[in-house]
């Protein structure tokens, strides 16, 4: 039963309708499942719905769900937008849509096989030859690229919209590397967590069977003789707008996320460059477009693909989903011929029509298009051309004539589509429920029985009223899509993958991920080291300004210069002018993103490295990273803050980064990823601590100056409390050095850090044969031995020039050795970052005078 209130909410929604709406049936009556939803919404109340919407926004943010560039420190991560009101389709109607989608997939698969085979469609005049030979998606090197399965088109997405008569239309086909299924899954997960009661009184079909089916298809394609097939999810990288989804799906499906240059073709097989060496790859799910797959045979300027990949596929040594060449059917002109193609191949009509489309290459159609421009959208047939769709009705008379002229010059390059007025669906807009245009993307995967359609999809609705702007590139709302019925679904049998118990659980870490993890560790520690020491220095400065004034300020100079050395931001405080007005330099060191070594620049690099291996992190970590990201935005405005607030913000950042370390320590599996992260962290920690000791005590100062420096150093080593417990208030360089260099139980003492580093390196995979220790291990052993054999009292002595030469030299040597460890690790585990060049033989032709 409807409550009166829900009638009101519905009524107010209905009053805003101006075209066909999803809520109403063809007779203008409210569909029952929408009634159920509205009645739940009414119970919830608009205010609560707005609250939940806020929760959704922060949840998506916390989870790091973005659709944008994640490349630069200043890059905007546009958060993914999810409308709390789902798009509903009744099971009965969906069953019919499913038939239409399956038929469409079957047809596109048949077209693909025909075009890369006999081309009977052209010979028998079903489609014009231009659709093949002028189609930039028709890749001649792919005529012998075939999957061993019955279907070539394995993954498929179709964009649909409802026309004014209530009929669903197919508007577009996505065949080469369909996107959106990961966002769809995340939408569902967030909705079911934050608005579970919306589904009251309905049964909503599950998405998981689609993903199970996908996993099954992939495992059927992989090498049967192998216990654990190597499946790679190939992404263009963190700069791709949908990188979130690539990382998300790779980890959800349990596949290795890799970029083109993580892979290598050798002996006709594809290999993953991992820190354990090369690992043979069986199946690749690619998210890079056709053209970019293989620079040897396709676009030679592609840095995203794998040279030799096409040959490896031809030799049957690797399977790629979808096989390169599938973009041929993304050409818009096919929509104009689908009816005939269906009759030709299947002898049946289309179950679900395409949006009315005309190919201008035929005289009659060209005439029609020119006469009806105001009802049509003009597009180029080839999707790849940089041509924005033109809406005929928006053109002036002269623009229309201009367009006609342009089309008539190369008519076969253009298509026209009916501008359909789409249906509207309820969306939460500025706190009210309003009608907005919507379109739906459906996902399919081929299995041995045909095409499995996901029971749901990605609905996108236009953020503006009465206009249809839904592309994610230009901003738009997404919606969860519910296939609803009043009967519970038959319980889906969870498909059990055929994985033997003895499966090799070791997951290899691609070299690039390894390198990024290592740098996450380094940048994290580098940022923390600078923040920590800067806070110590600011405290001393403030103390001096407020309480000292006339006292000796030598220790301030030493600390400020130590800060410059530590952050390698020369000339900095090594110049007298800067010393006389330290706050300007300090603010710059905090906030200047373009200055290498500054805190802002280090955090930027840290966030980039974290983003580049986002599939490594779980939700707890994303939450912290989000907080660090907030702090990053705050400190960039440090110039407008007072020193107190700067310190507060820095403290907050430091604490969040400490938490980041803590969550990693408590939750990350102790595998190679963890070891490399720890190694990076330790190397940076050793380098930063030696740098500060060296700057503070390389030259002997007066006792009262040294006392200040000793205290600062002990704080910097997290050891002041411990020191006081042992030595009370007796400050001496010798006891201080003994503690920060040699005290085995202190995590920031040099011997402790060196021993930890040694232990870590010992657990990393062995890449050299014959010797028990690799170069990196030898360097660490040498450094640790030097420190352990050092004579502390000799180290604390200074010569006649007040220099502590022995201390200085020892620390320089340790620093040099540990820097060499870093270079060595790079060569051992990360040596993949070489540039790729393609070249043609420049044909040196001679002119022959006959």
């Amino acid at each position: 039963m409807l409550t009166e209130a829900s009638v009101n909410l519905l009524q107010s929604y209905q009053s805003g309708l101006s075209s066909y709406d999803e809520v109403l049936d063809l007779n203008g009556k409210i569909k029952p499942y929408w009634q159920a939803l509205f009645s739940t919404l009414e119970k919830l109340g608009l205010d609560e719905l707005k609250n939940r919407n806020q929760e959704i926004i922060s949840k998506l943010r916390e989870n790091g769900v973005t659709y944008n560039v994640y490349g630069t420190p200043d890059g905007l991560n546009r958060p993914w937008q999810l409308d709390p009101i789902p798009f509903l389709i009744e099971q009965k109607e969906w069953a019919l849509i499913t038939k239409g989608l399956q038929q469409r997939a079957i047809l596109l698969d048949l077209i693909l096989k025909d075009l890369y085979g006999p081309r009977n469609l052209v010979k028998d005049g079903i489609i014009p030859a231009e659709l093949v030979f002028e189609n930039t998606g028709f890749l001649r090197s792919c005529i012998d690229i075939k999957l061993p399965s019955a279907n070539q088109l394995t993954l498929f997405a179709a964009d649909m919209a409802r026309g004014p008569d209530g009929q669903m239309w197919i508007v577009d086909n996505r065949t080469q590397a369909p996107s959106g299924s990961g966002y769809t899954l995340e939408n569902r997960i967030v909705m079911s967590k934050l608005l579970p009661e919306l589904a009251d009184g309905m049964y909503v079909s599950k998405l998981s069977p689609y993903f199970n089916c996908l996993q099954n298809t992939v495992s059927r394609l992989s090498d049967k003789s192998k216990d654990a097939p190597n499946i790679v999810y190939l992404t263009p990288g963190p700069n791709n707008e949908a990188y979130f989804e690539h990382a998300y799906l790779a980890s959800y499906l349990g596949y290795t996320l890799a970029q083109g240059d993580d892979l290598l073709v050798r002996n006709g097989c594809v290999w993953l460059k991992s820190i354990d060496g090369l690992q043979k790859v069986d199946v690749i799910i690619r998210r890079i477009d056709d053209d970019w797959c293989d620079p040897l045979e396709l676009r030679e300027d592609s840095q995203l693909g794998v040279p030799g990949l096409l040959q490896a596929i031809r030799m049957g040594n690797v399977q790629v989903l979808n096989p390169p060449g599938t973009s041929v059917v993304e050409n818009h002109a096919f929509l104009a011929f689908m009816d005939n193609i269906s009759l030709y191949f299947l002898g049946e009509k289309l179950v679900m029509p395409s949006v009315a489309t005309w190919w201008c290459g035929h005289k009659k159609e060209l005439g029609y298009v020119c006469d009806h421009l105001d009802e049509l959208i003009i597009k180029k047939a080839n999707r790849k051309s940089k041509f924005r769709s033109i809406y005929g009705r928006l053109l002036s008379y002269s623009e229309r004539e201009e367009l006609k002229k342009m089309i008539s010059q190369r008519p076969h390059e253009y298509i026209a589509q009916q501008e359909v007025s789409l249906s509207t669906t309820p969306s939460l807009i500025n706190g009210n429920i309003e009608p907005r245009y919507a379109a739906l993307r459906a996902f399919m995967v081929a299995d041995e029985n045909g095409y499995h359609v996901m029971q749901g999809g990605l609905t996108r609705s236009s953020p503006v009223k009465d206009r249809f702007v839904i592309s994610n590139q230009y901003g738009g709302l997404s919606k969860d899509t519910w296939i609803v019925s009043d009967k519970t679904e038959e319980i889906q049998e969870k498909i059990v993958l055929n994985v033997p118990a003895s499966v090799n659980k070791h997951i290899s870490l691609p070299s690039r991920s390894a390198e990024n993890l290592y740098w996450v560790g380094r940048y994290c520690e580098r940022t923390m080291a600078v923040i920590k020491f800067m806070n110590i220095t600011i405290n001393v400065l403030n103390l001096d300004r407020n309480f000292g004034g006339s006292a000796k300020q030598e220790h301030i100079k030493v600390l400020l210069q130590a800060l410059t050395h530590l952050s390698a931001t020369y000339p900095g405080f090594t110049e007298e002018d800067t010393l006389s007005n330290p706050y300007t330099e300090i603010i710059d060191l905090v906030s200047n993103t373009t200055r290498p070594g500054s805190i802002a620049s280090n955090i930027g690099s840290f966030l980039n490295s974290v983003g580049a291996v986002r599939n490594q992190w779980d939700l707890e970590i994303w939450r912290i990273v989000d907080l660090i990201d907030n702090g990053f935005h705050e400190i960039r405005n440090a110039s407008s803050m007072n020193s107190n607030n700067i310190q507060k913000t820095l403290d907050g950042l430091f604490n969040n980064m400490f938490t980041f370390l803590g969550v990693i320590a408590e939750s990350m599996p102790r595998d190679n990823s963890f070891l490399l992260f720890e190694t990076g962290k330790l190397i940076e920690r050793i380098l930063s601590r030696t740098s500060v000791i060296q700057s503070n005590f390389g030259v002997k100062n007066e006792q009262n100056v040294e006392n200040e420096l000793i205290e600062a150093t002990l704080i910097n080593h997290h050891s002041l409390v411990n020191y006081r417990q042992i030595y009370k208030s007796q400050l001496s360089v010798e006891t201080m050095l003994d503690m920060v260099l040699l005290e085995k139980s202190l995590p920031y003492s040099l011997v402790y850090m060196l021993d930890e580093l040694k232990r870590n390196l010992g657990k990393l995979p062995v890449t050299t044969r014959g010797e028990r220790l690799n170069e990196a291990q030898k360097f660490v052993l040498k450094a640790s031995t030097l420190v352990k054999l050092a004579n502390i009292s000799a180290l604390s002595k200074s010569d006649e020039d007040s220099e502590r030469k022995e201390l200085f030299d020892l620390l320089s040597e340790v620093s040099r050795l540990i820097s060499s460890v870093s270079t060595n690790l790079t060569n051992m585990y990360f040596s993949h970052t070489m540039m790729q060049h393609s070249f043609f033989e420049p044909v040196d032709y001679d002119k022959d005078e006959i």
């Binding site: 052209v122 010979k123 005049g125 030859a129 231009e130 093949v132 030979f133 002028e134 001649r140 090197s141 005529i143 012998d144 290598l264 073709v265 050798r266 002996n267 006709g268 620079p295 040897l296 045979e297 030679e300 040279p307 030799g308 040959q311 031809r314 030799m315 070489m834 540039m835 790729q836 060049h837 393609s838 070249f839 043609f840 033989e841 420049p842 044909v843 040196d844 032709y845 001679d846 002119k847 022959d848 005078e849 006959i850």
Partner: protein, 291 residues
């Protein structure tokens, strides 16, 4: 005429190269007027495997990769090729085979048009506009044969353009070649193809070799022959007929065909991908020796 054909390509790198992938399109085709008796490839350092494949156009390609560090790479192909072009004789053009009639054929004969569509439409390196149409307009007259029209076009390119090496690269657009009136055989071939296609006819790019003759009384120098490129035009009721716009001749026995496609991008003789920091130097030697 029988030839021994060798084509040696040598790369020198300043920094050792660990990975190299290559695709060759260097095998002479066997055709009604050309027989390839033997063909061999020698690569140093030796690749584990050389894989042969026939491409979309029926040309033979060879793929190999090298994964041992090397600073020198040599690719040597050798073949024995026999050219029988005299056996075919000059193209017989019937009296009514005018250019106008030929053009009409491409409009009315659907199956002819479909079978040649590949060579009628624009391709990656061959596109045209009004400027190109204007350039060729006086060569294509409806009352003379298509064969004569193409000969006119080749003559026009030959007389109006200068052969200048190193002025253009594989990526120089035809429009630039047309504006500067300079280029090499590949540019002239692309220009000719664009003109012919702009009038609705089918033309393809032919890649191969040309035997050069030493100046009178001089000995031929080793490595002095060259890769060459010319065009082939489809003449209704006759078939494909080759033309060499660079030299203003109809190719005969001294033109050896290795491959054809829509334009150069379909049939580059040697393509390679390396992973390296350093630079490389390249030298090519071609010999076409009558035997």
């Amino acid at each position: 005429m029988k030839y021994r054909l060798t084509h040696k390509t040598e790369y020198q790198y300043t920094v050792p190269v660990n990975n190299y992938h290559s695709l060759l399109c260097l095998t002479p085709r066997t055709l009604p007027n050309q027989i390839c008796h033997s063909f061999s490839i020698n690569v140093t350092p030796e690749p584990a495997q050389i894989v042969e494949r026939t491409d979309f156009y029926g040309n033979k390609n060879h793929y190999f990769s090298i994964h041992t560090p090397h600073k020198n790479l040599t690719v040597l192909t050798s073949s024995i090729v026999e050219c029988l072009s005299e056996a075919m004789g000059p193209p017989l053009i019937s009296a009514d085979g005018t250019c106008g009639a030929a053009r009409q054929r491409f409009v009315t004969d659907r199956s002819l048009k479909i079978s040649l569509m590949e060579y009628i439409t624009p391709s990656p390196l061959v596109k045209w506009d009004q400027e190109i149409l204007d350039f060729a307009a006086d060569c294509f007259r409806d009352d003379v044969s298509l064969y004569e029209c193409v000969r006119n076009l080749c003559r026009k390119i030959y007389t109006e353009f200068d052969f200048v090496s190193d002025f253009t690269t594989v990526n120089t657009p035809i429009k630039e070649v047309l504006a500067s009136k300079k280029g090499v055989c590949q540019d002239f071939s692309h220009l000719a193809i664009a003109c012919i296609r702009s009038f609705g006819f089918a033309a393809r790019y032919v890649s191969g070799y040309l035997e050069t003759l030493p100046p009178p009384g001089k000995q031929k120098l080793q490595g002095s022959d060259a890769s060459h490129a010319w065009i082939s035009v489809f003449i209704p009721d006759y078939g494909w007929c080759d033309f060499d716009p660079t030299n203003n001749v109809v190719p005969g026995e001294r033109h050896i065909i290795t491959a054809w496609g829509r334009d150069y991008s379909d049939v580059p003789p040697l393509k390679g991908i390396i992973f390296s920091y350093g630079k490389h130097e390249l030298s090519v030697e071609v010999d076409v020796i009558p035997v």
